[in-house]
Symmetry: C2
Subunit: 339 residues, 2 copies
């Protein structure tokens, strides 16, 4: 016997499918009389509710969310392009939400998303995020989550990152091999594990090559003017650095701006290397040595994992923590002194 | 006498507010018996439906959409920041959708948005968009729309743009005054009125200063590699230009890359000016002269107008077409020859 479905029940009874569905769920919006009629026919025809129906109902938005701190940074815009490629193949739309590095705003967005607006979300947290409750609440509500780039170690969701510690170590090692003895680190936020990993790569290189030597960490912010002040202070101090390792594209740009203003020669007086996904850094004067993250691939992998979760597929153990290698692109900003 | 509202009706009848509301709208989901009970009490207590209720119901998503072609271009990311500022003040969330310059994808997004997911939308169309039906359909469905930057002249919605023709004229005039006699224009798309306006500024400057002289328009694309090929061809032809005016940031960057590769000196051999909102162009070698659009302000104005529409406020006649001036930032890429 063919299985009876909701539509057939509705046709037989002369009711809307939604009414039959509500009646079977004992909705308060449906009269008892109607409920009785529906239930009687359902029993008579042997109607079995589809066990997948409710999960299909949950996954009907055909939309996923990508939550990122900002999009002026090329890393995030490239990562989103990777996400969009996968979503397009799956026939999904991507909603992009910006937190503007504001934890409270991030909490609001996640609260909004708990109500079935999307089938899953990918997030790179803000640098002011200090807790995981907002993510836990989404996870408990059954919303699949994948964390990428700026991940929170405390929460048990799949994570896609790059090899921050290793590539930071290599960047600082490179500065030292080019003659730097006083390398400063421009850091973004103490809250983020990604910052800690980049700083730990910096520390490891110093410990290996310059133990008990010069060391300085400057806590930068999203505010360019404030960063330029901090960097100018750093470069004008009595014992200034001869090398800078910038944790974020923005800070490397801020450093160049300050050097232009103070007439500090790069790489003669100061060598600079920084994380950046801006291809135009090759056009800088001098061209900037960069750590290029596999931004597009990180977005693509994060989305691929997310769709596995949405489709209730099992993840391989290796898929819970994916680490994609970054690339060191060496240019003139870290060349041996040309002064 | 105090006005009776839905909640009081519902309490009196022992029903949910949503049930009462549906019953009054003669919904097929509610039994006739319930409808009769609700109607009887409504008449008895002199219930008057709130004329604003349905518009409030429409405006309950507390979300607006910003649809843009891409976010790797700093113009759009800055415009979105302007949108987000206004939305935040209004307690609204912003959904960002990317069309990736794909008309079909843009149509899909607008179809999705017709179903009440957002209270209004702002759009800067893709460069492959050739019709307005998708926008007309949203407008007819009662969804407020504001068009910004890349606007379609054919559709009657408020538009926020910059003075493309005038500032393009001034940029080309500047190249000519610095000694250029053969200025090429790198254009983005024949479909867009914004491209036509920028090209018309270019033409006007040539007509005024170099009538019947050298003229060349190169149709570029979103594909960097393809653009670099086109630009290399342009610069290696028998009678190459001595000045380039780039309609989009990307094309100015492509020009620099080609000049670096072919060892063409800027500004000695070729002067370059382009639309760009990337502050790092000041760090280029040589620093790039740019037309800086008021991106943040365009986003802010577009969102302000959109909220007026959402809140059913009357627009001033001047608010239907807002034109914000761009700024010419002159740097070394257009300086008098230093060779």
């Amino acid at each position: 016997m063919n299985q009876v479905n909701l539509k057939q029940l509705a046709q037989e009874l002369g009711l809307a499918v939604s009414t039959v569905s509500r009646a079977l769920r004992d909705s308060h919006e449906i009269s008892q009389e109607t409920k009785d009629r529906v239930q009687a026919l359902a029993t008579k025809l042997g109607f079995q509710p589809n066990p997948y129906a409710s999960s299909l109902r949950r996954n009907k938005s055909k939309t996923i969310a990508a939550i990122v701190p900002e999009i002026e940074n090329n890393f995030f815009s490239q990562a989103i392009n990777g996400v969009e490629l996968v979503a397009k193949q799956k026939g999904y739309h991507v909603l992009i939400y910006l937190t503007h590095e504001d934890f409270h705003h991030e909490q609001e967005i996640l609260q909004l998303l708990r109500n079935g607006r999307v089938d899953g979300l990918m997030i790179s947290v803000s640098n002011t995020t200090t807790g995981t409750e907002h993510l836990e609440a989404c996870r408990k509500a059954g919303l699949p989550i994948v964390s990428f780039d700026r991940v929170l170690d405390e929460i048990d969701v799949p994570k896609v990152t790059t090899d921050d510690t290793e590539v930071s170590f290599r960047a600082v090692e490179h500065l030292i091999k080019k003659g730097c003895t006083k390398v400063a680190f421009l850091s973004m936020s103490d809250n983020l594990s990604i910052s800690k990993r980049r700083q730990s790569g910096y520390k490891k290189a110093l410990d290996k090559y310059l133990p008990d030597g010069w060391e300085q960490v400057v806590q930068c912010s999203p505010d360019d003017a404030h960063n330029r002040q901090l960097i100018a202070g750093l470069l004008e101090q009595a014992d200034p650095p001869d090398g800078i390792f910038a944790a974020v594209e923005k800070f490397a740009i801020n450093t160049y701006q300050v050097c232009q203003e103070l007439n500090i020669h790069i790489p003669g007086k100061l060598k600079v290397i920084g994380f950046s996904n801006l291809s135009a850094t090759a056009l800088f004067h001098p061209p900037l040595s960069t750590i290029v993250q596999p931004a597009y691939e990180i977005g693509r992998e994060a989305a691929t994992i997310l769709f596995k979760l949405i489709e209730n597929k099992k993840l391989l153990p290796t898929e819970n923590k994916i680490v994609l290698p970054s690339q060191l692109i060496l240019r003139k900003s870290t060349a041996k002194s040309s002064l």
